[in-house]
């Protein structure tokens, strides 16, 4: 008797219809996916991307080599060689080396900087083909990574 | 520990005073360069220890009797220090019968560079009582190579914690089956969380300098 009841119960497709209704409903909804890499999403202003050096209005380095970023970095990826030059009261970075393959993008360097001399920019396509490409010297650090355009 | 206690003005000192004590520190640092060349001795602020006041704490100390070596309240947490002797397991059984049925954590500590610890190693058992909604900590100090009975018969959860303490700190637990390494490979030499574990015989010291050297060779 119990087996018969259970057998009849199997023809109660209420749960299946309920589930199918949900998926059917979603056919008429707007798609949420983006056709990457043809379309790209823009990250928020606070996004922590690649480390970049900043210049002031005169085109001078804002960095005064206080070494705060070097000291706070948990993975020790920043190296600065300070120097002096004429017409500038503070020190300036002769070399500013940044090793991106060990960077954990925590943003502590930017937080520790009292001169707003560095920032984490909004780049997120940071994969490279060679380990050497992850090494950024001072010249490379100002320039944004060239973007590759994909077309149909 | 007792030396620090003496330096500490009064055990009744509460948290607010502790914050006040912390405040003048930066000033002392600024004043130091003016005095010139005498490096100021770093002033160590110690979190105050108080006498246990609540009824359940006194009751528990009374029930445990002689096995309690020291009992105090620090940063709002109730601590009991016990000794590693033949009553060790009995003490924990009494603690469980008292109501502390949930063993949250067993932590192992190496006090090698810590001032005021009576012995080299330490184990901290953190308990919670689901019925009473209370927390407490039981501490035991151990010498190097000293074995300690396992509490796995009382709390099954001690299994992983004890294996971890053995693996990373080298504390040996007796009276339980299969004390194997848990996080590190089975053929690993040494116990990395020890304060003198930087150098292991037969292994090159793994430092930032070595890493840089290896990378340059790449």
């Amino acid at each position: 008797m119990k087996g018969l009841v259970n057998f009849i119960k199997t023809f109660n497709y209420k749960d299946l219809i309920k589930g199918a209704a949900v998926t059917f409903k979603h056919q008429f909804k707007k798609t949420v996916t983006v056709q990457y890499p043809k379309e790209r999403l823009e990250p928020f202003p606070r996004f922590r991307g690649r480390l970049t050096l900043l210049k002031d209005e005169q085109g001078e380095d804002k960095c005064v080599c206080c070494m705060a970023c070097v000291r706070i970095c948990p993975t020790q990826v920043i190296e600065i060689k300070p120097g002096k030059k004429e017409g500038r009261k503070t020190r300036y970075p002769v070399e500013y080396n940044f090793n991106m393959d060990r960077c954990i993008f925590c943003g502590l360097c930017v937080e520790s900087c009292n001169f707003d001399a560095i920032e984490l920019n909004n780049e997120y396509e940071l994969a490279m083909y060679s380990r050497k490409d992850f090494f950024f010297d001072k010249e490379k650090m100002y320039v944004p990574t060239p973007k590759v355009e994909y077309k149909k | 520990m007792s030396e620090e206690l003496k330096k500490n003005p009064s055990p009744e000192e509460n948290k607010k005073e502790e914050v006040k004590k912390e405040a003048p520190k930066p000033e002392a640092k600024k004043a130091a360069p003016a005095a010139k060349k005498v490096p100021p001795k770093p002033q160590i602020v110690v979190a105050p220890k108080e006498e246990p006041n609540e009824d359940w704490q006194k009751k528990l100390i009374g029930e445990l009797g002689d096995s309690v070596k020291e009992a105090y309240v620090s940063v709002g947490e109730f601590n009991i220090v016990v000794e590693n002797n033949e009553n060790y397991i009995d003490t924990f059984k009494k603690i469980k019968d008292f109501g502390f049925d949930y063993l949250a954590d067993i932590s192992s500590v190496d006090y090698l560079k810590y001032e005021g610890a009576p012995k080299r190693f330490g184990l901290s058992y953190h308990f919670y009582s689901v019925k009473m909604n209370k927390r407490m900590r039981v501490k035991v100090f151990l010498d190097d190579g000293e074995k300690v009975p396992s509490v796995m018969d009382i709390w099954k959860t001690a299994d992983f914690h004890e294996r971890e303490a053995y693996d990373l700190m080298g504390i040996v637990f007796t009276g339980r089956d299969s004390l194997e390494r848990i996080l590190l490979p089975h053929d690993w030499v040494g116990h990395p969380l020890r304060k003198d574990a930087d150098k292991i015989e037969g292994r090159e010291e793994y430092t930032a300098r070595l890493v840089r050297k290896l990378r340059e060779e790449d």
Binding site: P74, C106 | V46, Y114, W155, T157, I182
Partner: protein, 366 residues
Amino acid sequence: MFKREIVELNMGPQHPSTHGVLRLKLKLDGETIVDLEPEIGYLHRGVEKLAENFNYLQALTLTDRLDYIAAVSNNLGYIETLEKLGGVEVPKKAQYFRVLLTELNRIASHLLWLATHALDIGAMTVFLYAFREREMILDMFEMYTGGRLLTTTFRYGGLKEDIPEGFDKKVKEFIKIFPSRMEDYEDLLTENRIWKKRTINVGVISAEDAINLGLSGPILRGSGVPYDIRKVEPYEAYGEFDWEVAVEEGCDTYARYKVRLKEMRESLKIVEQALEGMPEGDFRAKVPKTLKLPKGEVYHSIEAPKGELGYYLISDGKGTGPYRLKVRGPSFVNLQGLKPMCKGHMVADVVAIIGTLDVVLGEIDR
């Protein structure tokens, strides 16, 4: 002719259903599990040793990488441990915002659990839907902290930065949308006969055993023990909100599924209240720039999405970093429940039970 033979089978470390690099040594009698031994440590990075060489702020970045799907909760537990030892009063605004973010994180973590758990058992649609909603929460994290997964959110004494403009709008939008999405998940799963057959009476553990094994979080609450640290020892501003602890009596995988679904609803309630009642004022207390803590030790635990997350911190009063930092990861302890839960079940049920334990290997291996 039919000789009984015990077969040893390795499941993992590369297996889609083990959620990371978990390896299980199964002993099988036919299809039935006789014994099981988890083998862990493939993701061991030595977080506790690293923390001893870092200062307090640098060690915060390590806590992100413990339970990487609930980084905000990990940050909160660590920062609160420091604050408990340092004795700092956190401003009300920071407390409210901390609660808001951690509850959003709890929803995100449970959504990921729901997605992968359902996918393991065979319901793929929920996977896609849950990830869609999780994306909204990750967007909020990105808007506030700059990181989506590894957030490094809070700072000693309060918040890192002020709340950005437009953040409340995003949260309100989420609060509006989410209840209807929850109904979608329930329509797909709760009454579904396959889901019920795969989860009811699978992985049963009694309340007594669960306490003895040290299980916590939704697993303990699924066995009928109302142990939620947010309720029994309210930290931050949790005491000021109106919400309930999700408890189910079923002790099985289905009960834990219901607990987590209810928890998401309760979390949304807290988020709503925290957003409405957000006070004005400072977001960070006045603290010295280099943090130095008094000599002493402290254990502090919070209710992370996976269970009781505890930090045991010892400071020697001299250095600017921890002398010893021990992490009591909920997943590490919860994994011990796998053996008693799996015994006597089929191999396919192991997949469901790993899913219901909701383990994250970053936290287990540390």
